[in-house]
Symmetry: C2
Subunit: 361 residues, 2 copies
Amino acid sequence: MNEGEGAVPHNAPRGAGIREVARQAGVSTATVSRVFNNADSVNLETRQRVMELAASLNYSPSPLGRNLVQGRSSLIGLLVPNLSFPLYGEMIRAVEDVLSAHGMSVLLASSHDDAVTETRAAHNLLRHAVDGGIVINSQAGSGLPTVRGMNWVQVAPELPTVPHRVELDNESGGRLAARELLRCGRRQLAYVGAAGRESADRERGFAAELAQAGLSYRRFMGDYSEASGLMAAETLLKQDGEPSPDGIFAAGDLMAAGVLRTLHLRGLRVPADVAVVGFDDAVIASLLYPRLTSIRQPADLMGQAAAELVLSLLAGRPRPPQIFAPTLVCRESTGPPDQHSPALLSSAAPSPAFSLLEEEP
Amino acid sequence: MNEGEGAVPHNAPRGAGIREVARQAGVSTATVSRVFNNADSVNLETRQRVMELAASLNYSPSPLGRNLVQGRSSLIGLLVPNLSFPLYGEMIRAVEDVLSAHGMSVLLASSHDDAVTETRAAHNLLRHAVDGGIVINSQAGSGLPTVRGMNWVQVAPELPTVPHRVELDNESGGRLAARELLRCGRRQLAYVGAAGRESADRERGFAAELAQAGLSYRRFMGDYSEASGLMAAETLLKQDGEPSPDGIFAAGDLMAAGVLRTLHLRGLRVPADVAVVGFDDAVIASLLYPRLTSIRQPADLMGQAAAELVLSLLAGRPRPPQIFAPTLVCRESTGPPDQHSPALLSSAAPSPAFSLLEEEP
DNA sequence: TTGTAGGCGTTATCAC
DNA sequence: GTGATAACGCCTACAA
């Protein structure tokens, strides 16, 4: 954090400024400025002369001076917990698309999933006089630093004190998962979740839908990692006295990947013996074997909405929080059970058979 | 691209400035400035008074004014082809880490794999007076726009006119892949590549190593997508008269995923019948089934190096291009062949058996 | 339509 | 150690 380091040589030759252009064009700096801003209010001839001269001098207005006098930077801060998490990548992409299409640029920062770092990063964004900010899954929630009416938009579940928000209806995602498993005729269900509000919401929907069908379910709490998914399936299959699950809903695709792997290793077929539903529909979902049925979180649309919301706020037009509905993306990991070999295998007797789920195209 | 939109209300009340602090503290603005910069050269007592006042007025120096007078912005532009490509995510993360640790911020832009968009994005970065820029796999190569000695660092294979560069030794990656397959006793090899310089380099290394062992190989050209990997394996297995391959090197993990899937569907076991090596070692590699052996591209180190290089340039200390060596990450998709059932199955007779590669922990 | 002049918030160069 | 003061590059009333 040794800012600057005295490293930057600020003796770099500055290019031609507005004054030089004005002088050579025989006009005032004001006129040059107008040419680049209110192009209308200036004589066509003068304007062309200025433009040509500017081009030949390779001049364009410095954003630094402009920022200073206007008090804004055309910069939007984007604060992300983890830059290498694929779902965030999709959001970042959508945010950048929308903002750059509106002449704004994205100042990127990462919180490394850490509240202290997040605060520091937020301050850093403010230092650069961002006109607004988007923060994904904030740790601080309403505690984000702010100045002179700074506009923060959050992509996160509801928090009482955060007015500007884009969120996913996690509960209805849980419902979709339950319905899909029920549709496939599964009755022995299990939920693989994790700590935190999102998983809780997903589970609530899942449970509600099952209750409506008069069913209960077993649960295992992991941490969104593949390893915890491995362990989850391991544990669920091992429980003596209980019937082995024939349908598993994992609150994240990575955990679902772990579940699938354990099932393979146990010799259970998917979906013949056990159906699996993931959550997020990240890129990996369709690469798993079998291709994973997942509840899609429309990260692109959410990023887009967040960007549009922040632009709205800048324009002084607040919008109500926007809630996105997840959708079911049906792939190979769900389907009808195999009637001839019900999922009652002992976990001690792995079968080498693995079902082929696709014929060649 | 309707810049600004007249949307931003620039009537926002500006916070207390350096003058107000100076006035209330009974000192000059110069002293206040010194307090925040050369903290040493100011009387301890005065300094404390200023600090307290600044705190109570919630004052901190405006980067805008500072930027203007110093002619730099503490911003580094980062231009990426595709923000949702996982490997780039790792690089972006590394770049942000290094730069933020040095008090610089990251201005992010995407080229959408398009040369025109890239140029526009690069200009946009220049508009914001970035002190330097990093561009990953540039389309334009040396054609990047530049002003007043702007420093661009490229993460890309060698291009004659790009002086500041971080790159991967793709050829040696190809060698590693070949060696691993040879080590596993494979003799019927195939290369699945794609258009472009990177694939060509990887293939060159692969071919060289095989030639040294007196072997030739077959090849298929895809496009880095999973679909093209599917088709590659399909094609390679179908070639009549030729022995079926027992070792496949795919120039990208996604293509390797496609290869694996086709092998599954054909009833071929991995690695018993066919060994597979991918490239990049992206996150998905270890999620595939079986877990994919891959040539690791150290995206984190490369991002870090690019960031450090741009900082060096800013400090007036150029560095020679840095070349990174890929490494072999050995997982389950390579190993000894199964002696009892050599890989000579007809592609028309898929077997339902799928080898279990892991015992439970 | 154009020019004049003041100021945005800061740092840097002098003196003292 | 501190204080005037002059930039930095630009925008924008206001006046012409």
